[in-house]
């Protein structure tokens, strides 16, 4: 305990250094780009080293059942005691390393990407803040600390998404991300509070759910209580991990600089929700009802986002929707595991592999966007996207991993999730899961084929697809600075290096499945190979790619998705299932239009008007009564006599 404990100290440094860097840059060095960069890099490299050394030192010492907890009291009120500390077990150790690594790679990458941006220093400050809150989130020892970091992640993402704040769409997207996730967080918070009270009622010793390990005790609660709490907490998960119906912020969050998208959509922000489910797995597993709801919602999410991904033209949009769909996969895996009495491994494993290959895909997209000044992959294709060797190769590796092709990482983790779904009594879920995998392969390779095999310049399809939007989309003013000298530089080394590292991860992570499982769960389950399922899964992925080849890849392809044959459906997908419309309507009509208007009207007319009416009636009655003061002595006398007479009469009558 205290500062003498080396584990506490190193955890503390991991969390505190990025915060320090944020503060220093924001207050002192925000005008000095180079200095800020070096501060920020130092403060992300040290945590990286510390995280890996902790991992190395402790990976044999901790298990899920026996974590290392170091904490101090942060706030001691009466019933509310908030500890501040760190909980290290396999789940958090691994996540700590992933987050530290990805955050570090992104900082390296951004040296090239953000070069020359006027807000360069601010960008690094925000990245540091984000790193700090995410690292503290994964290592938090108490639920409340987790919630606080959770909120800070939201704040940092708000700042990063709205980084180019002069652009209306960017600041709007930042606001949307913050408010929508806040919407879920409220549920999370209520769930926490309720859970605390329910636990208190049972006189369970300790701090109740404020201690994360309290989750293991939740099976002592009644079914209804657990279901309520689990569902409320799932609201928070849905907000952060972009599950239906509050996934709408995530695609818009692409307004931020691309490194931000990579950071938010790979290892960190969106992963936080899934991480929370794994963290509270015993709680969720205790309620079958809640888990069924999660299963349904995640399946809807998977299908919705895959179908939208099929028609998007913006490369970042495609990746964003693929993120949403993969998150759906993870949630499906976890909920199926909970329903089937299995372990959290499958979902968590997919989280790990996804972190690597999705960061890779976004960073590749970033290289293209940086180079061509557009987000539209059709334009990239025509302008010679395939000539950029390193990103083209790595993006293909990432896509293969995403589609779940052997031997890349996604294959193994998806397989593990499918196995969980397979164990459910109702085979509908595994069918839908396979369908989702098929769609994933299709939309991923739509992008790859379009980029790899552009049509000839005079081909009529360009009329439809080659539309350079003035001012760009998502990249804004920043790009215009670069257009001038784009021609002569290839891919900067600082940007290529993270790509290669991540591509390597995407290749090797798949073969570490057994080792990871052993590390996470303490034992490795013997794998009974389900060949039927294997064939089905690979088959659906391959048929997805095959269909993409027919539609987009082969020389004879007409560059029309098969979905074009059902225009109604296509339009429905292009309009993003009308979810944005629905929320916009909700906000405009219900919040602004109804409550806000009525309350304001009420405030002006009724409450305030009432007061003013009292004031004016006082003045008015004063005027009225001032007729009495006419300065005519006779009149005054008359009134006096009349009043006196009245009083006299009253007294007489009263007797």
């Amino acid at each position: 305990m205290g500062s003498c404990d080396p584990i506490f100290l190193s955890c503390f440094l991991i969390v505190a250094l990025p915060l320090l860097s944020f503060a220093v840059i924001m207050i002192f060095t925000w005008r000095r780009h180079k200095l800020s960069l070096s501060i920020s890099l130092t403060c992300s490299t040290i945590p990286l080293i510390l995280a890996w050394s902790l991992f190395y030192k402790l990976h044999n010492a901790v298990t899920l059942a026996k974590p290392i907890i170091t904490q101090v009291n942060w706030l001691v009120s009466d019933a509310v005691i908030v500890p501040f500390g760190f909980l290290l077990d396999p789940v958090s150790l691994l996540m700590l390393c992933i987050v530290a690594t990805i955050a570090w790679l992104i900082q390296i990458y951004s040296i090239g990407y953000m070069e020359g941006d006027p807000g360069f220093a601010r960008f690094y400050a925000d990245l540091s803040l984000f790193g700090m809150s995410m690292l503290s989130l994964v290592s938090a020892s108490g639920m409340l600390q987790l919630f606080i970091s959770w909120e800070l992640v939201g704040l940092a993402s708000y700042l990063l998404i709205g980084f180019w704040y002069e652009k209306f769409s960017a600041s709007e997207a930042g606001k949307k991300a913050f408010v929508v996730t806040r919407f879920g967080d409220i549920g999370f918070f209520m769930g926490l509070v309720f859970l605390t009270f329910f636990m208190k009622d049972l006189n369970i010793p300790g701090l109740g759910i404020f201690d994360i390990n309290g989750a293991a005790l939740t099976h002592k609660l009644s079914e209804a209580q657990v279901t309520l709490c689990a569902l409320l907490i799932f609201c928070g998960v849905a907000g952060k991990s972009a599950q239906f119906p509050i996934h709408v912020w995530l695609p818009d969050a692409m307004e931020g600089p691309t490194p931000v998208s990579a950071l938010l959509h790979s290892a960190t922000m969106v992963a936080a929700g899934i991480y929370l489910i794994t963290r509270l797995f015993p709680l969720f597993a205790a309620s079958a009802t809640a888990m069924s709801v999660v299963l349904v919602i995640s399946t809807i999410t998977l299908l919705l986002s895959s179908t939208i991904g099929m028609v998007a033209k913006d490369i970042k949009q495609v990746w964003a929707y693929s993120t949403v769909s993969q998150l759906g996969f993870m949630a499906m895996g976890l909920s199926a595991a909970a329903l089937g009495g299995s372990t959290l491994f499958a979902g968590y494993y997919h989280l790990t592999t996804h972190a690597a290959f999705k960061a890779l895909l976004f960073l590749c997209a970033g290289v293209f966007i940086h180079h061509f000044g557009t987000n539209d992959f059709f334009v990239m294709s025509k302008d010679g996207g395939r000539k950029l060797m390193i990103p083209m190769v790595t993006v293909t590796i990432g896509a293969l991993a995403l589609a779940g092709i052997f031997p890349f990482a996604g294959f193994f983790s998806k397989e593990a999730i499918m196995a969980q779904l397979w164990h459910l009594p109702n085979k509908l879920w595994v069918g839908l899961g396979l369908f989702g995998a098929f769609l994933t392969a299709y939309y991923t390779f739509r992008v790859i084929f379009v980029m790899l095999f552009p049509r000839k310049d005079d081909n009529p399809v360009w009329k439809e697809y080659y539309v350079r939007e003035p001012g760009g989309h998502g990249h804004g003013a920043h790009d215009d600075d670069h257009d001038g000298h784009n021609g002569n530089h290839g891919v900067p080394w600082v940007m290529a290096f993270p790509l290669i590292v991540l591509a390597a991860f995407a290749c090797v992570l798949g073969f570490m499945q057994t080792g990871l499982e052993k590390f996470l769960l303490g034992e490795s389950h013997p794998h009974e190979m389900n060949y039927l399922l294997l064939v089905l899964a690979v088959g659906s992925a391959l048929s997805g790619i095959g269909l993409a080849w027919l539609d987009w890849g082969s020389p004879a392809a007409k560059w029309q998705g098969f979905i074009r044959k059902v225009p109604v459906l296509e339009n429905f997908f292009i309009q993003k299932w009308y979810m944005d419309h629905f929320w916009r309507w909700f906000l405009n009509t219900v919040i602004y239009g109804t409550f806000s208007r009525i309350f304001t009207y009420n405030d002006r007319r009724v409450v305030d008007g009432g007061v003013d009416a009292v004031a004016f009636s006082t003045i008015g009655s004063g005027r009225l009564l001032s007729f009495l003061q006419t300065a005519f002595v006779q009149l005054n006398l008359l009134f006096m006599v009349l009043v006196l007479a009245g009083v006299g009469l009253y007294l007489l009558m009263g007797r």
Partner: protein, 477 residues
């Protein structure tokens, strides 16, 4: 501490209008001494001992049992610190004032004297006296140095508060008469067990009377109007400190002396507070004047204070007093940033200001920090305060608690909407020539932010202090 603003005031009376620098320096020194003393008291207060410390007591009018009786305990130490910080930064904020400088600082120091007096007094008569001293200068300050409909606002504010006093006096006299002790000493009166009927009536009178100043719904309409009209430092003091007088008085007088009355009316308090919280954010959502926006956010935040009080639990009161402190600092930051922007551009319309971040990054950063604090972002003091209040409320009044928590979403939307329209998007070319905040004028804002962050990271320093008073306070009820 009480003496130093008074001394400053006396010195100011002797100075001439022309000696502007001297006037400012004297007021700053006077405020600085108060701040120093407030920090000293806060730090030197012995938490392990608890109770009333630094007591001074002089008999004043024996016949009626009036005494000058001041002291410090865990409840008012944060309030004194708050007042010290706000007045110090307030004087710095008004450094550039040119018109009638002398009178302005004289009145503002008079006001602060009253505020310090209220927070420290343990004699009901002196309490009320200081209360009125704090309220009256407001009228003049708004009327002379104000803007936008200042006559209307000043008149409205004063009449409102006087109407509040109209409730308070009968309440105080009722308790005084019913005790039969011939003393205004609150500690002595606390020992008296009043009959339930007296308690209920007196509590209602006192709650309504002080509630007006705390902007309890539906008596809040004076506050946005008043904020809008008042000059910057006055808005800061007004929202930052004066509104706290109301809630502090509810705690110190009404709840302390009439515990049964409190239990009887707690439901009503919680209801009004919840309505205030929800209502404030929704109305604020529709405003276009920056100061109106802040005014309504104050209504909402003061609702949280009242909600905490209404729970009558240790957590609730801790959170409530913490929230008074945090909100005071936060609003002061809000108004001082808006004041700076208004001084330069002469507009507070959020649409007209659009894109201000490009023009004045530092000034905007101050406002954005305050807005995020208002949205309840962790790492700021108000997060902890709200957390404590909400947890306590869900336990005592589940429905109200859930409504209040749900209002946080709208609160976030509300804060971000303002930030987005005012500071992001494309800059308005009209204002492009303005310069950013100089380091000297940035200093008071930095101090306020530092305070918010300090107590956001180390909440225990504050909660530990408040707790020393809250626990015996509730045991006495």
């Amino acid at each position: 501490m009480l003496i130093s603003p008074l001394m400053g005031l006396m010195v100011l009376l002797l100075l001439k209008e022309e000696q502007k620098f001297l006037i400012r320096a004297v007021s700053l020194v006077a405020a600085g001494i108060s701040l120093g003393l407030a920090i000293f008291v806060f730090v030197a207060y012995d938490k392990s001992l608890g109770g009333l410390q630094f007591v001074e007591k002089y008999e004043m009018v024996k016949t009626f049992g009036i005494a000058y009786h001041v002291g410090v305990e865990g409840l008012n130490a944060p309030m004194l610190l708050l007042t010290g910080i706000v007045i110090f930064t307030g004087v710095l904020t008004m450094w550039e004032l040119e018109t009638r400088t002398k009178e302005f600082f004289i009145w503002i120091l008079a006001l602060v004297t009253g505020v310090f007096g209220v927070f420290m007094s343990y004699d009901m008569f002196m309490f009320f006296l200081f209360y009125e001293i704090a309220v009256v200068p407001m009228y003049i300050l708004i009327l002379v140095w104000g803007s936008t409909r200042k006559e209307y606002a000043a008149m409205k504010l004063t009449l409102y508060l006087m109407a509040g006093s109209g409730f308070i006096i009968p309440g105080i006299l009722m308790l005084y008469a019913a005790s039969g002790l011939n003393t205004f000493n609150m500690l002595a009166l606390h020992g008296v067990h009043f009959s339930p009927w007296v308690q209920k009536a007196a509590f209602l009178l006192l709650f309504l009377g002080f509630g007006v100043l705390a902007a309890v719904w539906p008596f809040h309409t004076w506050s946005p109007v008043g904020h809008v009209a008042a000059p910057t430092a006055v808005s800061m003091l007004h929202a930052g400190v004066l509104m706290k007088l109301g809630s502090f008085a509810v705690l110190r007088v009404a709840m302390y002396l009439c515990p049964e009355g409190f239990h009887y009316w707690a439901q009503l308090m919680a209801l009004l507070a919840t309505v205030g919280i929800v209502y404030g954010v929704f109305v604020g959502l529709a405003q276009t004047d920056l100061k109106y926006v802040i005014g309504y956010s104050s209504v909402s935040h003061m609702g949280i204070v009242c909600l905490g009080l209404a729970t009558g639990t240790v957590d609730g009161l801790n959170g409530s007093v913490f929230q008074m402190f945090a909100h005071g600092i936060m609003t002061a930051l809000f108004f001082s940033s808006v004041g700076y922007i208004y001084d330069r551009t002469h507009t507070r319309d959020i649409h007209e200001l659009g894109g201000f971040s490009k023009i004045m990054p530092v000034a905007s950063a101050f406002f954005i920090t305050a807005a995020l604090c208002g949205a309840g972002v962790p790492g700021m003091a108000s997060f902890w305060a709200e957390l404590l209040v909400f947890i306590a409320t869900v336990k005592v009044f589940p429905i109200n608690g859930l409504l209040a928590i749900a209002a946080l979403v709208v609160g976030a939307l509300f804060a971000l909407r303002v930030v987005q329209t005012t500071f992001f998007n494309t800059p308005n070319p009209k204002f492009e020539h303005f310069e950013d905040v100089s380091p000297f004028l940035g200093l008071p804002r930095m101090m306020l932010i530092a305070t918010l962050v300090f107590f956001g990271i180390f909440p225990q320093t504050m909660v530990g202090m408040i707790k020393t008073a809250v626990i015996p306070f509730l045991q006495g009820m």
